[in-house]
Symmetry: C2
Subunit: 315 residues, 2 copies
């Protein structure tokens, strides 16, 4: 089955012209009908005929041509420039994707540390409606307000620290990645502020590098210098897992000697020994908000659900 109907350009593509010809109207009219342009008045009969013809022929708008005319395509690009494989990222992407779809747009996720040049070239090719970055949107696009402390990024960061504080830990250290990401500074800042609000001393910051041996060495050095530390809050589950392994390699007991808590639940955290206590974050609503912002739609009163602790054995 090659061509179901006559009236299809040599290219194999059904175009507006084909639909116009089939329904006996002009291209313009077809366009008006298909996009139901509110500025036009089209008779019900014509509308019907056009719709039917489009259906029959299997017309699908040529996004490239449309984008050329409109100035930008109906695509939104999300850059996820660090391998955040947790629940946050996944749910955020889901929310973003769904909300965009509801407004006729498409999400394109670009993972990995993009070569700037290639990215730029891609953007020129795609001409996306908007380009987002995972980290930026986490903050809902503004400086942290008290609302963020109630229910947002800051609140989730605080949740992690508070959990440890409630278990009686007062000297808490913050395990960070060996690479600087856009979000690392922000996260650390929130954690520090949370500690301050809880009346705790400032969090000592240290890095847990890979591979395994280096991680263990780093943790050993750190604990030697800060023997009063009894708990580690990690930047994410990855770091937490590295720390957990390091502590066990050093012969320390978790959580008795040092408690460890992760951030942004992953499957791997559930498989370690001891299993990792962590923070679960559902960012779907955040994704939806970002989508609306990107499209210039009123975000309404969407509010993200609070994060919650996944209590397991490590803290």
């Amino acid at each position: 089955m090659e061509r179901k109907w006559a009236g299809m350009g040599r290219s194999g593509r059904v175009t507006l012209t084909d639909v116009a010809k089939a329904s006996g109207v002009s291209r313009a009219t077809v366009s008006f009908v298909l996009n139901d342009d509110p500025r036009q008045t089209i008779s019900a009969a014509t509308r019907e005929r056009v719709m039917e013809a489009a259906q029959e022929l299997g017309y699908v708008a040529h996004g490239i041509a449309r984008a050329l005319r409109e100035g930008s395509s109906r695509i939104v690009v999300l850059n996820v420039d660090w391998g955040m494989e947790g629940n946050f990222s996944r749910s955020y992407v889901r929310g973003l994707d769904e909300e965009l779809a509801e407004h006729g747009h498409i999400l394109l996720v670009r993972h990995g540390h993009a070569i700037p040049e290639a990215t730029q070239q891609m953007l020129d090719t795609i001409a996306p409606r908007a380009v987002l970055r995972l980290g930026e949107a986490y903050l809902q696009g503004h400086e942290p307000t008290e609302a963020d402390w109630e229910n947002g990024f800051a609140a989730n960061a605080a949740l992690q620290i508070r959990y440890l504080a409630e278990r009686g830990h007062t000297r808490i250290a913050m395990g960070m990645t060996d690479r600087e990401y856009p979000l690392t500074g922000v996260r650390l800042g929130f954690a520090q502020e949370a500690a301050r609000r809880l009346g705790l001393p400032p969090l000592e910051r240290f890095v847990v590098p890979r591979p395994r041996q280096a991680g263990a060495a780093a943790v050993e050095t750190f604990l030697a210098a800060h023997s009063d530390v009894t708990a580690l809050a990690a930047f994410d589950d990855d770091i937490a897992l590295r720390a957990l392994t390091a502590l066990r390699d050093l012969g320390l007991r978790v959580p008795e000697d040092v408690a460890v808590i992760g951030f942004d639940e992953t499957e791997y955290g559930s498989l370690s020994t001891p299993a990792l206590t962590t923070v679960h974050i559902d960012a779907e609503i955040l994704g939806r908000i970002a989508a609306r912002n990107a499209l210039g739609i009123d975000p309404g009163t969407l509010a993200p659900p609070p994060g919650r602790i996944v209590t397991r054995a490590s803290a």
Copy 2:
């Protein structure tokens, strides 16, 4: 600094016309120069003038317009429809990306289980030069030949089984995912064939589901029914890690009671107790081959390096 130079359309975009105007030639000529079209003869002087003007004005080709004219954009889409976070996927993407870049194309990676409808819509918008799928390309696009057994997917699958066989294991089971991926069947087939060639009995197949408790239950059930099994070969490191945890939860010793080997090295495998023995695969060359195939370029004599065992403690 808004507009560096005069002669830039109201849209803020520098177009071919602008460059043409600036260098005193026609649009066509500019296009010929910039794409150095071999079918045209352009004087050195003109070439120079055009290049310079383009540089000055900061001209960058409008991919959308080009795509409309050419029928497809210079984008290649790669669908990675299952979370394969190992070395294979990463190196494959790197190779693909680099090779495409060398030919003026761009890689767009689409992660996650794409909604078919949205994907189709995206493809209509992007009009990519080619759409690839991670699994397909693993096979270099053809049925497994003896070459694949020498050095390819089949060889890597065999490597895993052979390692266990060399350690004296004869009853080996294959741990699979709970979801069926395009590749699962192929992988299992190769492993079975490898076992046959090594004179081993057929591999018993079983699934290691999540979460942790379910995994342990599955492993327990399986081992009860197949008490002679002494080694588990996993579909990937993820499954291996689940199995490792399950075995430990059941009080079994790894590798003494049951040996475990993963596939496609991840960082997590190095953090477990015992650390996971696995197979490391560098797929960069495979990515380059796929790129050339996609662009219709002769792949030449590129040959992927053989996989290698990463010997750690679990097998």
